[in-house]
């Protein structure tokens, strides 16, 4: 049984009425999306901005309301949960956000940021929290003395490590990574991507990975869903999707990526052509 099973998910946002008597128009951001993720695997959702990939993830995590469909996490229906049941369930998925600058509370020390979900989502005895925080800091490659610092004293990459430590704390079943490296410098991106993969191998984590960077997706994921205008237009495993893309939109996306390899090949072609002429 898959860890996460999403069936016909629909999210609509109300728009302004054109006039007082007209029926309210809706923008359908996610239009009947279905996918599933096995435990320990990574599913990447790719697409352009506005294609509904973040909205899908937010709806799965109950951070926006879905208008239809089913979301089942490890056998439990997520969309019907309310109150305490929902709070209890929130422990089971965590978010890593795109912008590590705005997703950390600037008034809390690093240790507090990591400790907060341990405290509020339960599951950790108060006397164990400090040792848990120590362990998480070590796991994401931060030094123990950095626990005293505030977010502004960290670099972008270190802030993202802090975000990862916070997400790992409650031992979630699913971690949703929403563009986790696109706000970081190129050289730092590799450090974070390697860390995410290392943690996945060590802890058997399951990622829902949202990105528009196909190079990153190719490196990180096991399965890929390509979204376009609120629909999944192609959903395949990594090798199939990148080696034999079927849908025209997927092909267009792949062709649009500037790559070092393409240039090397073109030059090789030219010199081979010149040599034979």
């Amino acid at each position: 049984m898959p860890l996460l099973d999403v069936r016909d998910l629909v999210v609509r946002f109300p728009l302004k009425r054109p006039n007082l008597l007209a029926p309210r128009p809706y923008l359908t951001a996610v239009d009947g999306v279905s996918f599933n993720i096995e435990r320990g695997e990574t599913l990447a959702i790719v697409g352009e901005s506005g294609s509904g990939k973040t909205t899908t993830a937010l709806a799965v995590a109950r951070l926006v309301e879905a208008q239809g469909g089913q979301v089942t996490l490890a056998g439990q229906d997520m969309l019907s949960l309310e109150g305490d049941g929902l709070r209890e369930a929130r422990r089971r998925f965590q978010f890593i956000f795109q912008d590590p600058y705005s997703s950390l509370n600037p008034r809390l020390r690093a240790s507090e940021i990591v400790a907060e979900p341990l405290r509020s989502l339960g599951g950790t005895a108060p006397e164990e929290i400090q040792s848990k925080v120590d362990e998480l800091f070590a796991a994401v490659g931060l030094r123990p003395e950095q626990q005293r610092l505030f977010p502004h004293q960290f670099s972008g990459g270190q802030r993202q490590r802090l975000g990862i430590a916070r997400a790992l704390g409650p031992q979630p079943d699913l971690i949703i990574c929403d563009e986790p490296v696109s706000a970081l410098d190129v050289a730092v991106q590799a450090q974070i991507l390697n860390l995410l993969r290392r943690l996945q191998a060590e802890r058997g984590l399951t990622y829902l990975f949202i990105s528009h960077d196909l190079g990153v997706v190719q490196h990180m994921c096991d399965h890929v869903a390509v979204m376009y205008h609120g629909n999944i237009v192609e959903h395949a495993d990594r090798l199939t999707l990148f080696n034999t893309p079927q849908h025209d939109y997927t092909k267009a996306l792949l062709a649009a990526v500037p790559s070092v390899g393409k240039r090397r090949r073109d030059t090789a072609h030219e010199s081979a052509g010149a040599g034979s002429a």
Partner: protein, 324 residues
């Protein structure tokens, strides 16, 4: 003679801790119609180089301390502000990373293009407007006559960047500086903007200076590349040679640390190469030592003692003691 030649440029920033060179003895030249890329992480001085060329070094914290910027026989480091104003946007133009914040939200796009034409080319109101509509057409905006009346917020990110390019190209500049022109845009839109820039170069013969952190974009767009690190030139050379045999460890790292899209994907997924650490703080810029030493594996004692000289190896120029 090259179109633009920058000689021993040094730009200093005044901070509370002292005065530090954000650009430290950088020289390069640009031929007519050439595409030059400047790459590096943020904080390496690539945007500051562009601002120096435009005469836009932030005042009063920044200062063009030494060096020459020779453009058509004139030293832009010495010319008056009035003269610079007549060159800027006319002979040398620039497009910025975030098209929303660099367009004026309270003027229509047509007006913003027409303003450049009235100011620099002395066109009348009507002629300038007509020409603005033609330019919107040239950069691929559908229905340009109607869109000239649109405000920036009514357009998509890609269209705004096209308007920026139309403004920059209004006076057919000899040099167009593009500072991360596609970073805020989707890949498909990025491909369109690149195609547009290439087409405009064919048509107008404009030389392009592309500032980016993406080696893929360099491979796609440029003839020649300069890799900058901590305000200094780490490596320079033709794009093919640099991509084929990068000689500076920083260049090697920049190419290897990005997961490039491959054609033949296999099960095999090795860990990405990591450049350890981050760019050094501004306060260590200008030291007489290699500023990359703490992030390099092939570092020797010499890296602590003296700033690496720029050496010519094959077609490339490299500033690293252990490069070969």
């Amino acid at each position: 003679m090259p179109l633009l030649s920058v000689e021993n440029l040094r730009v200093e920033l005044k901070t509370r801790e002292g005065v530090f060179p954000v650009i430290d003895d950088v020289s390069f030249s640009l031929e007519e119609g050439q595409n030059l890329a400047i790459v590096g992480e943020s904080g390496c001085g690539k945007s500051m180089t562009a601002l120096a060329l435009m005469g836009l070094v932030p005042q009063p914290v920044g200062r063009l301390a030494a060096g020459k910027i020779l453009f058509a026989g004139e030293d832009l480091a010495q010319v008056s502000e009035t003269r610079m104003r007549s060159l800027r946007g006319n002979e040398i133009s620039m497009i910025f990373q975030e098209p929303m914040t660099s367009l004026n939200p309270v003027y229509t796009t047509g007006e913003q293009i027409a303003e450049v034409l009235r100011r620099h080319q002395g066109l009348g109101t009507k002629a300038a407007w007509e020409h603005a509509v033609e330019l919107l057409d040239a950069v691929g905006i559908p229905n340009p006559r109607a869109r000239a009346d649109s405000y920036p917020h009514q357009m998509s990110g890609g269209q705004r960047q096209r308007v920026m390019i139309a403004i920059a190209l209004a006076c057919r500049p000899k040099i167009l500086i593009a500072d991360e022109p596609t970073t805020a845009l989707d890949v498909t839109v990025q491909a369109q903007i690149f195609e547009l820039l290439r087409g405009l170069r064919r048509e107008f013969g404009t030389a392009l200076i592309l500032i980016t952190h993406d080696m893929g974009a360099v491979a796609e767009m440029a003839d020649r590349v300069i890799v900058m690190y901590a305000g200094r030139k780490a490596e320079e050379g033709p794009v093919d040679a640099v991509l084929e045999t990068p000689r500076h460890p920083y260049t090697k790292g920049l190419i290897a640390c990005v997961p490039h899209l491959m054609d033949n994907v296999t099960e095999d997924r090795p860990e990405l190469f990591e450049i350890p650490g981050i760019v050094p703080p501004l306060s260590s810029f200008g030291e007489d030592a290699c500023l990359f030493r703490s992030r390099s594996e092939q570092c020797t004692g010499k890296c602590y003692e003296a700033r690496p000289e720029e050496r010519v190896i094959g077609e490339q120029i490299v500033a690293c003691w252990s490069a070969y």
